[in-house]
């Protein structure tokens, strides 16, 4: 019997007025799994991801984290969010804080840790992404790739059970994409459970345990990368992937 899923979406729906963005998503992510979500823009990938920590309110269905439905109004969402790290396309580092300040803010404010303990944990997290030497720098002094690695450290430092990545390399210069993907692979090798919305087909093919192809607010196809990329069953998947041939 497989272990219970860390994340389970049960007929998840999201609509803006008459516009259905998610039309009933069912998805399970198991401990230690890396699941990549691919699909055309507007297919609902990011909306689905943002429903997983309630940055976006779903309009139907359930989001189960470790067996608890976090869409219920009585859930302490701030406690839940500490267990779910999120990395954004635009990094979203706090420009008024140093790199270390960015990484330790939640440790200090939410978990009430003293500055010595927070700094120790923060430096360890920065070490993991190879940026301990930039602890005193400000975000604007870093390259895009470095900023995104700091953003990963900011999420990792809270020791989440699950990490959500929302197109983490889409805003990067091509030459810095590699360093971010490398850190993500290291995280995966360390056993982190990850749900990654990405356009990096090469990464999805090489690193993912499972690939989800979404279109028009629904999961069209899913399976091991070799299957989805090598022998897609659906016409829409084939058409989408055809645009990426030659890449990755």
């Amino acid at each position: 019997m497989p272990p219970p899923p860390i994340l389970e979406l049960v007929s998840l729906r999201k609509s803006y007025g008459a516009l259905d963005v998610l039309r009933g998503i069912d998805l399970r992510v198991f401990p230690g799994e890396l699941v990549c979500v691919v699909g055309p823009s507007g297919s609902g990938k990011s909306s689905m991801l943002r429903c997983c920590n309630r940055l976006e309110q779903s309009t139907g269905g359930q989001v189960m984290i470790d067996g608890v439905d976090i869409t219920r109004p009585d859930v302490d969402i701030n406690a839940v969010r500490q267990q779910i790290g999120m990395v954004f396309q635009q990094f979203n580092l706090y420009p008024h804080l140093t790199v270390l300040g960015n990484v330790t803010l939640a440790l200090r404010k939410v978990q009430g840790k003293g500055s010595v303990e927070a700094d120790t944990l923060g430096l360890a997290a920065l070490e993991r992404v190879g940026l301990a030497d930039k602890a005193r720098a400000y975000p604007a002094q870093l390259s895009g790739g470095q900023q995104q690695r700091v953003a990963i450290a900011r999420a990792v430092v809270l020791q989440p059970k699950l990490m959500l990545f929302d197109e983490p390399t889409s805003a990067l210069d091509p030459e810095t994409v590699g360093e971010v993907l490398k850190v993500m692979k290291q995280l995966r090798d360390a056993g982190m459970t990850m749900l990654v919305v990405t356009h990096e087909m090469g990464f999805a093919r090489a690193a993912a345990d499972r690939v989800i192809f979404m279109d028009a607010g629904a999961i069209v196809e899913q399976g091991p990368p070799a299957e989805v990329f090598g022998a897609p069953k659906h016409e829409r998947t084939r058409a989408f992937l055809a645009r990426f041939t030659g890449e990755g």
């Binding site: 940055l55 701030n78 500490q82 979203n92 706090y94 420009p95 404010k109 939410v110 604007a140 002094q141």
Partner: protein, 226 residues
């Protein structure tokens, strides 16, 4: 008497200055006192209004916008006069000091709210999303992430407003507030010589130049590398 001598005798008359000196000093105390009190109350109330508006409750935002627009549209002089002369008619009497302080504080609060609100709006939504995604509450996100950045954006216009409203303390003279300019004008009439006005001008320089220098230092210090 040469032209220069006449000029010095008119505007820099030592005898007149010696007589006016105590009044000018007392007025200076009043002006600084009201100015500091207005700055504290105006910044505090303006900050509170901006935070309340950020809670995005429709009716509350509506009320705040009405307050801000009315306070920015009315001449501060009229607000002072209303507090001093009209409010006693409905049973609320206040001193010249209080009515000037209250009126200017409300006016400053309106501008401060607008400056800070503009600063809050200028921040990308990703800032609060990132903070909330790590478990920060709305309030923690506001105080640790949003307001420090909004304050930096708003700082230049905030200092301009503090200085502009601070100079408006002189409007208190309509309700007989003995501020430095009012006292200087009285002394000028009594002496038949405008030297006290020169002294008042000097007093304004002494008050406001340090404020401007302090503001500039603060702006420089708050500039993170961009």
């Amino acid at each position: 008497m040469s032209g220069l001598q006449r000029f010095l005798d008119t505007f820099f008359n030592a005898e007149v200055a010696a007589r006016a000196w105590p009044d000018i000093l007392r007025g200076l105390g009043i002006t600084v006192g009201v100015g500091v009190a207005v700055t504290i109350a105006g910044l505090g109330l303006g900050l509170a209004l901006a935070i309340l508006r950020a809670t995005q409750r429709g009716w509350l935002s509506g009320l705040i916008v009405v307050f801000v627009d009315v306070m920015r549209a009315l001449p501060p002089l009229v607000v002072i006069i209303i507090f001093f002369f009209a409010f006693p008619l409905i049973g609320i009497s206040m001193s010249a000091f209080t009515s000037t302080w209250l009126a200017l504080s409300l006016v400053l609060a309106a501008y401060v709210e607008e400056c800070l609100w503009g600063g809050i709006l200028s921040l990308p939504r990703g800032q609060s999303e990132a903070a909330r995604s790590t478990g920060l509450s709305w309030w923690q996100c506001m105080t640790a992430v949003i307001l420090p950045q909004a304050f930096r954006v708003a700082l230049p216009s905030l200092t301009n407003r503090v200085i502009a409203v601070g100079k408006n303390v002189a409007l208190g003279s309509v309700v007989a507030l003995s501020d430095v300019l009012n006292n200087a004008q009285s002394a000028t009439s009594n002496a038949g010589n405008p030297t006290p006005l020169t002294m008042a001008a000097a007093a304004y320089l002494v008050i406001f130049i340090p404020v401007m220098m302090g503001a500039r230092r603060l702006e420089n210090r708050m500039q993170w590398r961009a």
